[in-house]
């Protein structure tokens, strides 16, 4: 872990970040500190980038089964700038609005990025959740069919964004569970 030159964040930047994200000033500064500890030495924090591996190995994401998808959705061209990390923390914070969380949850769960959550995506989600490949084929197919029969309203064997949103709006657990604390303080 390299030590960057410890630049104080400008007050205007802090205000702007606080206005544009759902994070408090305290949290933004904590993320700034964590980012500085991880970035390569000698770089200004606005120009430094983190690789996807570095972000995946953050304590908050280390055991998450979807960490590669999270990194992929929130990074730009395969790297994380400071603002990308802030954006990610904002979506996963407690104060984020439901529409934003549902939007990004859809992107994370859409493994093949075709704009829909289809059967293949669902099977991959279930296998990732259980972290094993020893789930029997019938059980997997059964479960996928159940999920589709409950949530797929227009019978095209895929979940579009609206259908996903409708299913998640029915469950208050979504907001509770889709939260990550990124900062160490």
């Amino acid at each position: 872990m390299g030590q960057c030159l410890r630049y104080q964040m400008h007050w205007e930047d802090l205000e702007e970040y606080q206005a544009l994200t759902f994070l408090t000033r305290n949290e933004i500064l904590c993320i700034h500190d964590t980012f500085l500890k991880l970035c390569p030495p000698g770089k200004y924090y606005k120009e430094a980038t983190l690789t996807m591996d570095q972000v995946s190995s953050l304590p908050a994401l280390r055991v998450n089964p979807f960490r590669d998808r999270i990194c992929r959705v929130f990074s730009h061209k395969g790297v994380f700038s400071f603002e990308d990390v802030l954006g990610m923390a904002s979506v996963f914070s407690e104060q984020a609005c439901p529409s934003l969380k549902i939007e990004y949850a859809f992107r994370i769960y859409d493994f093949n990025e075709n704009g829909f959550i289809d059967e293949e995506d669902l099977q991959r989600i279930i296998l990732r959740l259980l972290n094993s490949d020893d789930m029997s084929e019938d059980l997997l197919m059964d479960l996928t069919n159940h999920v589709l029969s409950e949530s797929d309203l227009d019978n095209d064997n895929m979940l579009s964004f609206s259908e996903f949103e409708h299913a998640m709006a029915k469950s208050p657990d979504f907001m509770n569970s889709f939260r990550i604390h990124f900062w160490g303080c």
Binding site: V63, S90, E113, G115, K170, D173
Partner: protein
């Protein structure tokens, strides 16, 4: 030739299509919007269509690509059209998000009031990738839309604009650029550095001052957040054990808040004035031994802790009691304070406020956790919402995986069972076993209640036990042990019965435990208000009841400590050392929550007789928090059954409100309206019932003059008249009935809409198949045409070759 068309458009017919089936260009004469779409897309998205095809081939590998079930590979043209469907195009370009938000801001502007942005009905499209502007062929369009959006944002207030920007699913860099562009010129000047020497110095000085002030502000903010109780501890518990165990600790925090509110009111209006004007003590104060902490008697008796200490006169008035109607001149410069009235009304008002707060939080929690039609969709919810992203430890995540696996298997098993019902014989047998176990559990509860009754009668009738103070602790100890032991017995019995749904099992266990506690508390209430009042005639029975409740509270705490010690710590040591098992004992959420509710019920029962009891409860809850947290982190693991945390908090609050608070309120009402207060102590010693204090005051007001005559009128016609109560209840019932009808109507509408969506889906599939077949036919014709021209070209070459050869 084509069928007769409804309307003629000037569309050039391609010559080759004469005499054949309908081509898309013919069909386009009926739907000209479709034609426009095809023309647009065939110009602009040829690249995208090919790319889509390539990507899909990569994704599905060697297997055939099937978007829609019956087809095989699809032609480029069909894919081009599919790629241009609204549900896909918009999601793939950033311009679409921007145009969507532009529409939203326009709507915002048209509405005069500030809308609830969270309630917007979305037809939001997913944005898959954020293409760079240079590669995006619709760059110009997007810039246009962006400038429109910026203009709209400028017309909003700053706070609204920031709120809108915060909710957009764009990257932070783009949001910053939008914000920068939409900032009004006045704002831009603020951040600019001053030009010229002196100005730049001033500017820098000002900036440094502002920065210093802000750092101070940050320090204060972080200090304030550090003061917020238990923030770090709760985060740690959530990270290690998940949301369900966290909900127990959050419930504990809620109870602390309720007790703090109660204590505040009581201290301000009852204890404060009494402490300021202490009454004369009946005799010398008894010496304090250590036993008071357990029994509550001894040197605690004649303090503000108990009812008996409070005077029945008007404070700050040197003459006698105002209840005999004599005129009294208040002391110069003082405000007379009618203690009996204050005591009654403070207890009444604090209960009323607690009731309102409780009902409101329960309704709010219910509203957040239940939706119309939410009972279906449990599989989808389990798959998408059951992974708790807060969990950060490896062991906890493995546990979560096990939980999810179990839950999924249980769901599938449940579904199978529901669709393959048992035989009649099996169902009868199941019902018989269920009935038997319920009977046994109810019998246990009844037996415990009878045991408590018998024991309390024995305590009344043995006068030698009354003399010793330690003997007072026996009844609380017995009740506490019954409360601990009987649920274990019920759990053993419950293992006999077959349950299809494990969630139902948990609710049934809670129900049985609750019935047991209610039975015991009911017996105790009868014992205090029914028997003790009679036995302790001539003495201060309210003090005794207050002390009893204090003893129960303390004994409950002591037994809870012992239970944590033996149930968790010792069991873990035994299971690790002797039995060599790696499983730690589970944290039983239901039992712990019911213990908290039981303690709170005792507090509410005792508030009338011991106003300082909420303070005792607060201290107890603080200690319970630390003990439970330490024990949890050291000894326990998360429960195997994954709980739906949001439903749990609703259930806890409902249990707190309905059996617990309602029972306490009934007890209070009975004590205030029906029981004769003791004549030797307390603020109501000369009255027939406690409620009389209010009536006396109203009579006093009537005598006082016509200016306040509306208050007695209100009291006589609204408070004491039952007709008004009936009217209010009838209105409430009518409102509830109307709400039920509305919900029923909404359910019907949801069903109809679902049907409509599924019909639209079928239409879409039909149209796509038709399109696909048409394009396929066209391509086949093209290929055959190309083939014949090739054949026509090839043979002359062969002939010449043959001729040469």
């Amino acid at each position: 030739m084509a069928q007769p068309l409804a309307f003629i458009l000037d569309v050039p017919e391609t010559p080759g299509d004469q005499g054949r089936d309908l081509s898309p260009y013919d069909e386009s004469e009926v739907h000209d919007s479709f034609q426009q779409l095809i023309q647009e897309q065939s110009q602009c998205t040829a690249q995208e269509g090919l790319e889509l095809q390539q990507r899909e081939r990569e994704v599905t590998g060697s297997s055939q690509q099937t978007l829609w079930r019956p087809e095989g590979t699809q032609s480029t043209a069909t894919l081009r059209i599919l790629a241009s469907m609204p549900s896909r195009t918009i999601g793939r370009s950033r311009g679409a998000i921007i145009s969507q938000y532009y529409n939203r801001t326009v709507q915002l502007r048209r509405r005069s009031s500030r809308p609830l942005l969270g309630n917007f009905v979305h037809s939001a499209r997913p944005s898959l990738r954020l293409y760079d502007l240079e590669l995006d062929p619709t760059a110009r369009e997007e810039e246009e839309k962006q400038s429109l959006l910026v203009k709209e944002l400028q017309s909003l207030a700053v706070a609204q604009r920031d709120h809108m920007l915060r909710g957009m699913p764009l990257s932070l860099a783009e949001k910053r650029s939008l914000r920068e562009k939409s900032r009004t010129p006045r704002g831009k000047w603020r951040g600019q550095p001053g030009s010229g020497g002196v100005c730049s110095c001033c500017g820098r000085l000002r900036y440094a001052c502002v920065l210093a002030l802000h750092s101070l502000g940050l320090v204060l903010l972080s200090a304030l957040q550090a003061l917020m109780p238990w923030r770090y501890a709760l985060k740690r518990i959530g990270g290690q054990f998940g949301s369900s165990v966290l909900s127990y600790f959050l419930f504990l925090k809620t109870l602390l808040a309720f007790n703090a509110l109660l204590l505040l009111l009581l201290v301000a209006f009852i204890m404060g004035p009494q402490v300021a004007f202490p009454p004369a003590l009946p005799g010398p104060a008894p010496v304090c031994t250590g036993l008071e902490l357990l029994t509550g008697a001894g040197c605690f008796t004649h303090t503000v802790m108990y009812y008996g200490h409070y005077s029945n006169a008007t404070l700050n008035q040197p003459c006698g009691s105002p209840l005999d109607g004599s005129q009294c001149t208040p002391r110069v410069g003082g405000l007379p304070y009618n203690m009996p009235l204050a005591y009654l009304s403070t207890v009444g008002v604090s209960f009323f406020i607690t009731c309102i707060t409780l009902v409101y939080s329960m309704a709010h929690s219910f509203g957040e956790s239940y939706r119309v039609g939410s009972t279906s969709g449990i599989h989808a919810i389990t798959v998408f919402c059951s992974w708790d992203y807060k969990v950060t430890q490896k062991r906890a995540s493995r546990l979560q995986q096990d939980n999810i696996r179990t839950r999924l298997k249980e769901l599938l098993a449940e579904w199978q069972l529901r669709h393959s019902p048992r035989s009649v014989c099996g169902r009868l047998r199941q019902a018989a076993v269920l009935g038997l176990v319920w009977l046994l559990c109810l019998g246990t509860a009844l037996g415990c209640a009878v045991a408590v009754h018998v024991f309390s009668e024995f305590m009344i009738q043995s006068p030698e036990a009354v003399g010793q103070e330690a003997a007072l602790l026996v009844l609380p100890l017995v009740v506490g042990l019954l409360n601990l032991g009987a649920p274990y017995l019920c759990r053993v019995l419950a293992a006999l019965e077959p349950h299809d749904s494990p969630v139902l099992e948990v609710y049934v266990a809670i129900c049985r435990n609750l019935i047991l506690k209610l039975a015991i508390l009911g017996t105790l209430c009868y014992h205090w208000l029914g028997r003790r009042v009679g036995v302790l005639q001539g003495q201060c029975w309210e003090d005794f009841v207050g002390q009893e409740l204090y003893r129960f509270l303390v004994m409950d705490f002591v037994l809870m400590l012992l239970d944590t010690l033996f149930g968790e710590l010792v069991w873990r040591i035994i299971s690790e050392k002797k039995l060599k098992r790696r499983r730690k004992p589970e944290f039983d959420i239901a039992r712990n929550v019911l213990e908290l509710i039981y303690g709170q019920t005792l507090t509410w029962l005792g508030v009338l007789f011991s106003p300082l009891l909420p303070a005792v409860q607060i201290i107890k809850l603080l200690l319970v928090f630390y003990v439970k947290k330490t024990s949890l982190l050291a000894n326990c693991q998360a429960p195997r059954r994954p709980w739906l945390a949001s439903h749990m908090s609703t259930v806890f609050l409902t249990l707190l409100c309905f059996p617990a608070f309602l029972g306490a309120a009934v007890f209070l009402c009975y004590a205030v309206w029906q029981v004769k207060p003791s004549s030797t102590c307390g603020p109501f010693r000369t009255l027939d019932t406690m409620y009389e204090a209010g009536r006396v005051w109203v009579r006093h007001l009537e005598a006082a003059g016509p200016r306040v005559s509306w208050l007695p009128w209100v009291h006589r016609y609204l408070g004491e008249n039952t007709f008004f109560v009936f009217l209010v209840s009838a209105l409430l019932l009518a409102v509830i009935y109307l709400n039920i009808q509305v919900v029923r109507g909404q359910r019907k509408v949801i069903c109809l809409l679902k049907e409509q969506i599924s019909n639209e889906g079928e239409d879409k599939i039909f149209l796509i198949n038709k399109l696909h077949s048409i394009y396929e036919r066209k391509e086949r014709e093209e290929r055959s045409r190309v083939g014949t021209t090739e054949e026509a070209a090839a043979p002359p070459a062969l002939l010449t070759d043959e001729q040469d050869a």
